[in-house]
Every structure is written in C-alpha cells, then in structure tokens.
C-alpha cells in the first residue's frame, strides 16, 4: 500500500496555536446530490443531456421488471414454492444506476439486495431463478440460500451472508487491478447497518492508504432489519466517514437514478485517474420487508411507509420518460406483463429441474476431493442405499 498521500506527519507541529476543536458539534446535514427531484424538477439538465434517453428507458424497463420479479417471488415464497426471498423494492436505482455507470470489466461485490447489477450485465434470468430454487443449474449448486448467487461471467462476485466481509475484499481486488495494470475499478454494495461492522473500517482504510480504485456504495435504506438509522450511528451521514480515511465522500439521492449514475460515474473516473476510492452514501428507503422472514409492522409505522412512497424511484423516472415521449401506459403494461410471464416461466422451468447431484456435496471444498471427502461420499451413498435416509424419505434422489 504505497503511493503515499503526502499526509502531514504525526509529529506535533508548533504551527497555528489557537485551541481548535476539530468538530463540535459535528457538521450539519449535507443535502444529497440530486439530478431529478421526486417532484419532477430538474436540478442538473446538463447531466441529463449527457445520457442517451433510450438508455434511461431501458433502465426504467429493467427496474419495472425487477419490481415485478420481487412481487412475484414474495408471493411464490408465501405459497411455499421458494424457501426464502428478499426484495429490493424502492431501491432499484441503487442497483441499476451503478450497473449502468460502470464497465463490464469492473468487478462488483453485491450484498443480497442487488440482483440488478448482474441481470443488467446479462446474467440470465433463468440462472437467477435456478439459484432461487437451488436446482442442478443453480450456479452455486444449491449450497446457499436463495438470493446468494454468483455470476463469474459478469464479474460479479459470489454473494455471502455475513455482511461487510466484501468491503476489504473489494479493496483487495481494486489493489490487484492497479497492480496488474488494468484500468478497471471494483465496487462494493452494502447497507447502512453493515457500515457498523469492523470490516467497513478496515476495508475503507486499506483502500485509502493504497489509493485503490474502489467504490464503496452504501445503500442507506433507513433500516437494518428492524434497527432504525438512529440506532446504527449517531453520525448524520455515513459518508462523513470518508474524512477519517482521507478519501472522497459523496451523499447522493439513491432514489434518483440519474444522480446515482452520475455519482458512480464520477467515482469511477476519479478512481481510474489514480486518485483512489470514494465512499458513496445513497439515501433511499426499504419499501419492502427486510426479507420474507420479516414483518416491518413490528417496528415501523404505516404512515412512515406511505410518506416514503413519495420518493419511490420508479414513478419519478416514469414521469420524466413520459414527458420525453419515451414511455406510456401501454409500454408500462407490456413491460409488467412480459416480466411477470418471464419470471413465472423461469420458475416453472426451475422447479422442474432436479436437485443438484449428491456428488456436489463433496466437490469444491477443495480443488480436488481429499481422501476424507471421498470416504464420506461413499458413506453417504451407503446410507442412502440403506433405506434409512431422511433425505430419501423426503423424496430426495
């Protein structure tokens, strides 16, 4: 971690002299960067002009489809057809914006709420649904819960449940890119709750010292399961932490697709120019429950949820597209219908596929099976043949 930042040394300089407190009270709230407000007013016409409107229409269509997928999959989970599901409803701009702003050779470390980053890059819907079902075509071979996929071809890294672990990993990948002389950047997505983990700190600090071409994208959706922002931190913004790592920080309206594209694009340009990482905090709201295991009624009010709806990224974008003559009710209907048909068809197909083969239990622990794993695979085969297996009794093959 070398390119020095020419930071002042730690020795006490005799300069200055007045008794200065660094910050007391801490700096006041900073208005998030916006391009297109919820009420339709445009803050930054120049930036809007720089994005091909057809791209925005495509992005909007993808976001509408994502919402349909989320709605359908939550229903499917309730019907017992999925073991678990977790939606990104209300936060679509935080996946599709960065996906659009970056190049395909930029690596992505999503949390569990950004299927959009892979789908936008061409990760097949069917493969995504195969993962939700955990069948033989699930890229992770049925080893993780639904929504924990992996998309190597898209340079999207395998999703983990432990939150925050991805942050130093992203710093390391960014370091490796520079080390290899590649012009790419690495981005990591995580929630504001996750920013409390030690891994957040060590990852951002490493990246700062190394001036690694990394982007840390914090989706501040107001909740970590039931824990509201006020119990996550006393800081008014997560992005203020950038100060403490000597890196660039940015607060952005996470429900404004344009603003997210702009923020990530600027951070990428900054990183590619060798200036180091940016911490982006995207203010948004988790309109959905945390997951299908959660019920937000236990900890937040219906009024709060209704108020948050005003900021929903979809209607705001739709109004703009309609004003440009790029969208209408018919296209909306058609997009929804197609998305609904596509996801349900994919689900039906996925359900018809067999389980991953039993051999997958023992593969990929190491590059090759160890003798112990070979022996355990034989043990399991014998057990399954014995007629006493719970797995067989439950219909497993």
């Amino acid at each position: 971690m070398t390119r020095s930042n020419a930071a002042p040394t730690a020795r006490a300089p005799d300069a200055g002299g007045a008794a200065t407190s660094v910050s007391h009270p801490p700096p006041v709230a900073i208005a998030p960067m916006q391009v297109l407000r919820a009420d339709g007013t445009i803050v930054d016409p120049e930036f809007i002009a720089s994005v091909p409107p057809a791209d925005i229409a495509r992005l909007y269509a993808a976001m509408v489809a994502q919402r349909v997928y989320d709605d359908r999959m939550i229903k499917m989970q309730r019907q017992g057809r999925l073991g678990f599901y977790l939606a990104c409803t209300g936060e679509e701009a935080c996946a599709y914006g960065p996906a659009y702003a970056l190049r395909n050779d930029d690596w992505m470390y999503p949390a569990y709420r950004e299927p959009g980053v892979a789908l936008w890059r061409g990760f097949p819907l069917q493969t995504w649904v195969d993962n939700l079902v955990g069948n033989c075509d699930d890229p992770v071979k049925g080893r993780q819960m639904p929504v924990h996929w992996s998309a190597r071809a898209q340079n999207v890294v395998s999703i983990s449940s432990p939150v925050g672990t991805q942050i130093p990993q992203c710093a390391g990948t960014a370091y490796a890119m520079r080390q290899r002389g590649d012009d790419a950047v690495a981005i990591c997505f995580f929630g504001e709750g996750t920013s409390s983990e030690g891994d957040f700190h060590v990852g951002l600090n490493f990246a700062g010292v190394a001036k690694a071409p990394a982007i840390f994208f914090c989706r501040n959706n107001g909740y970590a399961i039931s824990t509201p922002y006020e119990k996550t931190t006393a800081a008014p913004h997560i992005a203020l932490r950038a100060h403490g790592y000597g890196i660039r920080g940015q607060v952005v309206d996470g429900n404004d697709l344009f603003a997210v594209i702009k923020a990530v694009g600027e951070a990428a340009a900054y990183a590619r120019a060798g200036h180091g990482p940016t911490l982006i905090e995207a203010k948004t709201y988790r309109l959905a429950a945390h997951s299908t295991s959660d019920d937000p009624k236990a900890y937040r009010s219906r009024e709060e949820e209704a108020e948050a709806l005003i900021q929903d990224p979809l209607p705001r974008l739709r109004r703009w597209l309609e004003a440009q003559g790029l969208w209408d009710e018919a296209r909306e209907q058609q997009t929804q219908t197609e998305a609904s048909e596509a996801i349900l068809a994919a689900l039906a197909l996925a359900e018809a596929k067999p389980h991953p083969p039993l051999s997958t239990l023992f593969d990929d622990v190491f590059a090759a099976r160890t003798p112990l794993l070979e022996a355990q695979a034989l043990e399991l085969a014998a057990h399954l043949a014995s007629g006493e297996s719970a797995y067989r009794a439950a219909g497993g093959h």
Binding site: R143, Q144, S161, E197, A298, H355, L361, L372, E388
Partner: protein, 339 residues
Amino acid sequence: MPTMNIIQAVNDALDLAMAADKDVVILGEDVGKFGGVFRATVGLQEKYGEDRVIDTPLAEAGIIGTAIGMALYGLRPVAEIQFSDFIFPAYDQIVNELAKFRYRSGGEYPCPMVIRTPFGGGIRGGHYHSQSPEATFAHHAGLVCVTPSNPYDAKGLLLAALASPDPVMVFEPKRIYRGPAHGTNWSAHPKGEVPAGHYTVPIGKADIARPLRGKGIPVSLISYGAMVETCREAAAKLEAEGIDVELIDLRTLVPYDLPAIVESVSRTGRAVVANEAPKTCGFAAEVVALIMEHCFDWLQAPPLRVTGYDTPFPYTLEAAYLPDSGRVAAAVRQVARYK
C-alpha cells in the same frame, strides 16, 4: 405445569432474571422492539426499557466487546448473537478477551456474562445460517459452554448461566426451538413441561435422556443439542432390533461431565458419539479420545462418531448432509454387532 417451547423457556428465564436483578441487561441486533429474529426477547424491551434491552448497531465485535466492559463494571449482560454463523467477527473478543480476563488479571477482573446464540442446521438456512462452531470455543480455556436440548434445560441452564461467576456461552438448538421434531411441538414432550419461577439445571452435569431398558445389547449414545432428539429417534428404532441405547445428553460441553460418560461406557463397553458439526476436530473427537483414555479396558468395540460431513453446510441437500436417525442407528448397530 405450564408447557413451553425452547424460545418461550428462554424468554421466561430472561424475564425472571431481569425482574430479579436490575444489573441484567440484554444486548444484540434487533433484540428490542422486534424481540429478536427468533423472538426470544419479545416483550422485554417494553417491560424493562431501552436501556436494559439494547438494540445495538450491527457489529458482533461491538456487542461482545461492550458486554465485556459492562460485565467488568458489574452489570450482568446477556448478549445475543443472531446466528452462530455470525459470531466470528467477535471471535477475538470472545477467545482472547472474555475467556482470559479472569486468568490474565490474576483474578482481579472476572467477567461473568452470558452469550446466547442459535446454532445448527435444519431450518433450511444453508451455508451461513446452519453452522455448529461450539468446538472452536470449547478449545479455548476459560469459556463455559452449554447446549440445552429441550425447554426444561433451556430455562434451567440459562438461569444457571446467569448465576455463574464465569462467562457462559449458550448454544441454542434453533432447529428444535419450537418443537422436538418437524411438525410436533414441545407440549407433547415431558421436557416441554417447564416450572414457573426460578430453578436451575446444574452446569457440568450430563443428563441420561433415555436410560437402558435392560433388554438387548447395551450401547452408550452420547450427544447434545438438537441431535439429542435425532438420537432418541434412533434409540426407539433400535429397541425393536435388540439394541438397548443409553442416551446421554451432555448438556454442558465445558466443563464436561466425565464421570457420566465413563460410568455409562464402562457399563456398556460400546459407545457412539454424535454431533452435527463437521467431523474433523469436532466435539465428538474429544469425547472419543476421553473414552479411550478412561474406558479402554471395558471397550467391546471402537467408539464411533456420527457427524456432519467435512464440507461447508449446504442448502438444497441439507437433508442429505444433516446426520439423521438412520446414520446414528447404523453406527450404533455397527458398534453393537462388533466382534
């Protein structure tokens, strides 16, 4: 007597402890308004306030680290780690700090507190909501480790933990939180009867969960946590085959009840040890090694282990991975018929 499931028993123990001692505080992710993702702390924040049932930021090292600082000062914290898969960011605080505080300070700074964490598979949690890391804590001297297998013990062990002068880790068998088996609940089970009010289950004492019936080849079957019910199922099945299982529920892993193990195995001469964690360096290895050291002359057959496989925990194939009663029965048969 009231019947409870394990979650209710835990909640009841916490409620009693908080009512009796205002130094008892609960802290963890989502333990407050929400009552915990498994609902073990439901209603307690309402009753005892936000200062005593603390919704923490999302940081396990912070939960344990702050709990240690509270305990040193004299509070009696009960930290909840949402899943034991997520306990590892706090591993350093637990094994280097909590476990060693009394020893390294020459006894000046004891640190009695409780860590509750659900462990084990069987809830379709896959890779990261199913692990059983108890052996990696048992290895570090200084941590009492207990694992209830039923509501009666869950309440009694937790109340014992809350009275212990030592740090206690409670590994809760989440698979059987609500019933001893899928589809049944604890109210039908004798151990589902949970006395109202305060009682303790002694730390360090195993339980004979099923005594020998006196008919058939005797085999000691030693386990803990959710696997106790799996073993009970196996024992029932084996009875008809002329194999008489004495089922020992360890209940405490550290300090383990060696006399109970030795007493049983020296009588039966045959033993199977079952745990859900991977085989290599799991707690079952320790029990087998102890049996070797203390019961060699009585052994009629090699003690066998039934364990999870040495792979990460799967999702779709969970039922193939989890040690089921069939695998336990097969091992017991092998030991019983060994010549």
